[in-house]
């Protein structure tokens, strides 16, 4: 009663669920991923009401992966699950987003606050009356947790969660109890957009750091730039691009940094990953007397097993939380402002150019008469097939290492999970990414996954068909877990998988005649034919294209071979 009176005093009342979805719309979300459940059903009614689209995934893990892919293209995303069963199914995807700095808003439909207070023995509970155990689990993998248990604080908690999600570029958790969905809150708040700008650096401190950097840079004899994942994730792409273009310095990317920069620039030099680097890159980077390292995440697979050999003495690190010049640390100075100023104040630099990567087929492959599609042949060939603006998704497995050998056209978005490395991710992510592409008018989303990985989340193909998405999907059919074989268990049965008739799946998942085109390519000639098929390569068709790409079980990109060797050794370490 008291509550109703309070609601009536609000000039422009809006329901909590509507407020939440309007805020998501405001920050750029247009589609909501997830699954219904009785604790979130009433909330779902608000989605079309505020002009959002409900995706309707096949399961929550896949929905989480899809939300991750969508966020990597659109800047943020949202997933709705139901208490306990739904949210826990998605937990691995959310942990992946946390690990890899992807901003996903996870909204969980909760039992009513009344039922929670009385500790009712409800379905989807552990039977112990504890309604906080799942949020506690998610707190480990969220940068904010907003429990909407009180009408008067709901708006603040929602705003805070979305802002933290954006600024920290990590998942947040929002609980939405059934009895809160329709509670009235102040709609006028929505007239003030969320402030998503990064706090400015202290100008004096920033200038100081910029000076130190410029001094080092102008004195360096053969400086290089190395761009990594956090450049993308912490929204420093423009600043980095401007710096690279103006400076003309040889620039390299790490595996997780693929897609961060325009690889058609004349000063682009290829992928640096220690022993897994592109030809000539390792020598150039490691002999440099100054490496400007932007947004680094020096994880094992991102450095081909820590075979990274750059001294901190020769490094300037740019991060979202600090800048580090050799051993001098500048905490609290965000890279974005610093990069901008460094670019502005840039003087004359000594430039010693680096390797020029291309998509030429390696000589041995060029002359070989073997029709087999090899990893060494395929990935540069993919480079020729790709177009400006493509979204390219690669799965943990041979694909994730093969793509190091592909030089991208301009403005490619590359998606993969080099750090978290959860297989099945790429297929789910492809659903979200291709939906985001559709919303943005991006023409092609291309997925390269493995036969083993595809099996984990195969049903998301159904969601793509249902949502009329048109990605190009390659399933690398190589009889199982090739990447694992290179680590351990070369011919053991646990590295085999059941052999599916992959290209029969779209029809089984309900694709209508002609909606999906399917292919099987077993030789280089088949690939050539495919890549010259206009309908297949088109960015204009609405058809999903699904390819079985047959490769040998014992073939892997060279970077994978060396990384696998180091990994096996570390696992055996005593």
């Amino acid at each position: 009663m008291a509550q109703d009176l309070r609601s009536q005093e609000i000039k422009n009342p809006v329901d909590v669920a509507e407020y939440l979805f309007r805020r998501l719309h405001e920050v750029g979300v247009r589609s909501i991923h997830g699954l219904p459940g009785d604790y979130n059903l009433v909330a779902l009614d608000y989605i079309p009401k505020v002009g959002l689209n409900w995706v309707g995934n096949c399961n929550e893990l896949n929905a989480g992966y899809a939300a991750d892919g969508y966020a990597r293209v659109k800047g943020i995303s949202a997933i709705v699950t139901t208490f306990g069963v739904g949210e826990l199914s998605a937990v691995n995807a959310i942990a992946g987003a946390y690990s890899e700095y992807v901003p996903v808003v996870h909204i969980v439909g909760y039992p009513s606050t009344v039922a929670q207070k009385s500790g009712m023995l409800l379905h989807h509970t552990l039977g112990n009356g504890d309604f906080n155990v799942f949020s506690k689990m998610s707190a480990q993998i969220s940068c904010a947790v907003s429990m909407l248990n009180h009408q008067h604080e709901a708006a603040v908690l929602i705003d805070n969660a979305i802002r933290e999600c954006w600024l920290q570029s990590r998942p947040v958790y929002i609980s939405l109890p059934t009895d809160m969905v329709q509670k009235k809150i102040d709609g006028d708040r929505l007239n003030t957009p969320l402030d998503l700008s990064f706090p400015k650096n202290d100008p004096e401190k920033e200038d100081y750091v910029v000076d130190v950097i410029l001094k080092s840079l102008h004195a360096a004899k053969n400086p290089v730039v190395l761009v990594d994942a956090c450049t993308i994730r912490h929204r420093a792409l423009n600043e980095t691009h401007d710096f690279i273009e103006k400076s003309g310095l040889p620039t390299f990317v790490t595996p997780m940094g693929k897609g961060a920069i325009n690889e058609t620039l004349p000063n682009y030099g290829g992928v640096y990953a220690g022993d897994g680097s592109n030809v000539g890159v390792r020598e150039r980077v490691e002999s440099s007397d100054l490496v400007l390292s932007i947004g680094a995440i020096k994880s094992d697979f991102n450095t081909a097993g820590f075979t990274y050999r750059i001294s901190q003495l020769n490094t300037i690190d740019f991060h979202s939380y600090a800048v580090k010049v050799r051993y001098s640390e500048y905490p609290g100075v965000r890279m974005n402002g610093v990069l901008k100023k460094v670019t502005e104040k840039l003087g004359k630099l000594t430039i010693e150019s680096g390797p020029k990567p291309n998509n030429d087929i390696p000589k041995e492959e060029e002359v070989s008469k073997d029709p087999t599609i090899t990893q060494a042949w395929f990935w540069p060939r993919v480079g020729q097939f790709l177009k400006k603006d493509d979204i390219v998704i690669t799965e943990t497995g041979t694909a994730n290492f093969g793509i190091w050998e592909t030089r991208f056209p301009a403005d490619v978005t590359a998606i993969s999970q080099v750090l978290w490395g959860s297989i099945g991710y790429a297929t789910g992510s492809c659903q979200g990414a291709s939906l985001a592409a559709k919303e943005l008018g991006i023409k092609r989303t291309i997925l390269f996954t493995g036969d083993g990985s595809f099996q984990l989340t195969a049903q998301e193909l159904s969601t793509m068909i249902r949502n009329k998405l048109n990605p190009i999907i390659f399933v690398i059919c190589n009889n199982g877990y090739t990447i694992e074989r290179f680590i351990h268990g070369w011919e053991t049965s646990y590295n085999d998988v059941q052999e599916w008739r992959y290209k029969d799946l779209p029809a089984a998942f309900g694709a209508k005649e002609g909606e999906v085109l399917t292919y099987r390519v077993e030789s280089k000639d088949d690939v050539e034919k495919l890549f010259s098929d206009e309908e297949f390569v088109s960015g204009e068709t609405s058809k999903l294209r699904f390819v079985e790409l047959v490769m040998k079980w014992d073939d892997a990109p060279k970077a994978l071979k060396s990384t696998a060797e180091v990994t096996a050794k570390r696992n055996a370490e005593n």
Copy 2:
């Protein structure tokens, strides 16, 4: 070095992984569920070595569900996953096993203790050097956590975990770092089997409780027995069976207690679930002056939305952790011993008989000329189709409520998740249950799932095919989430699902010609024909049978309708 010396002093050294798998073999496990990952690969080599079978699931959530199903048939099970990505994918299945008291040993392949100590930035981590965050999450849903970080305590921790798993009938978590797998420990320990017996009740206290119970029971005018889930989960089936048979008291089961007792006994009276009870059951149970309630879990869906109306004044509760006679509590007295003694000392009882459930088709359905397969017609008809020893799995949805109307033959094992209620569970569980059935020589495993639920975990059909399992699978095709429609969103699109060609899936998942039989039944006549097809009903064939069972989108068992109504009301409660 010191370690090596110590190993040499052990008379009969055995590797940690071998010890672990031998213990699992000892307690009855014959197949290990899970997926490989580089942190568990070397451990997997031990599985065939000790005479165990590796299942090789399609993903970890499904593997977790399968392990749950396997444990419900064989008494315990094990799943192996890899650090982070694998274990978190399985977390929802493990939470379900925790909630529903299912003993699953979860073994997680960890990075080496060396890498952990130095906080390396490895793949499958959150990138923060914290290797304990996932075990902390799992601690919430495990009754024991054994981190095998030290050679000298590994055996004790393994023994402890397996014993707790068995005795508490809940999941346990075991971490197995890569460098611990081959460490030598004392193999002679294996000559002493684990003690899995329940601690005996204090005899004086037990006798006291038995006396109190007998007094009440002998004085009662129309006592009844009500059997629930914990009777199964806490291994009191034999004691309960003997009591029911000797006493001759009218006996009822709750939905979660289905399968606990022999439903062909003359004193079996049907399903009690408040407003959702079988015909006549509610009146009989609620008018009783003494209800012997064995192993109760009074959750919402187990009581048709708390429409349970039995006064504690008329109840004796038997639990694994206590006995409660009206309001007198006897903590620490386990039901098993008490039931046994009560049966032994039983005197003359006043017996007022109860309803006699059967599998007769309801009159309206019998006379109807409509060929449509209705829920009201189907479930009693299933009762006629079932045979002694069948394993019957039902999914959350119409199936889980429909099965209340099916009277079972003797020795049926019923599997469902009435409390946890995670959809997709039943299909995964069917893989594990039918594998367990094969190991035990049980002939038929029969799954009833919904079209919506099936989509979450469909690929486990592939694992069944790969492992040459022969369950009979019914997918209820009713255009989406019917159970949800009855709660909220009658015709909303979020309750629709993509329409699959379900029966094309086995072939797409690699079933060879003739290995799987597929059917589509759209009318009662079709069902009749199916149920009289010898190959279809056979317990001797090795063929998997897969049926699309077409029902109406707006049809539901009556118990579901009433439960949905209460649930919708509770969700809206303010």
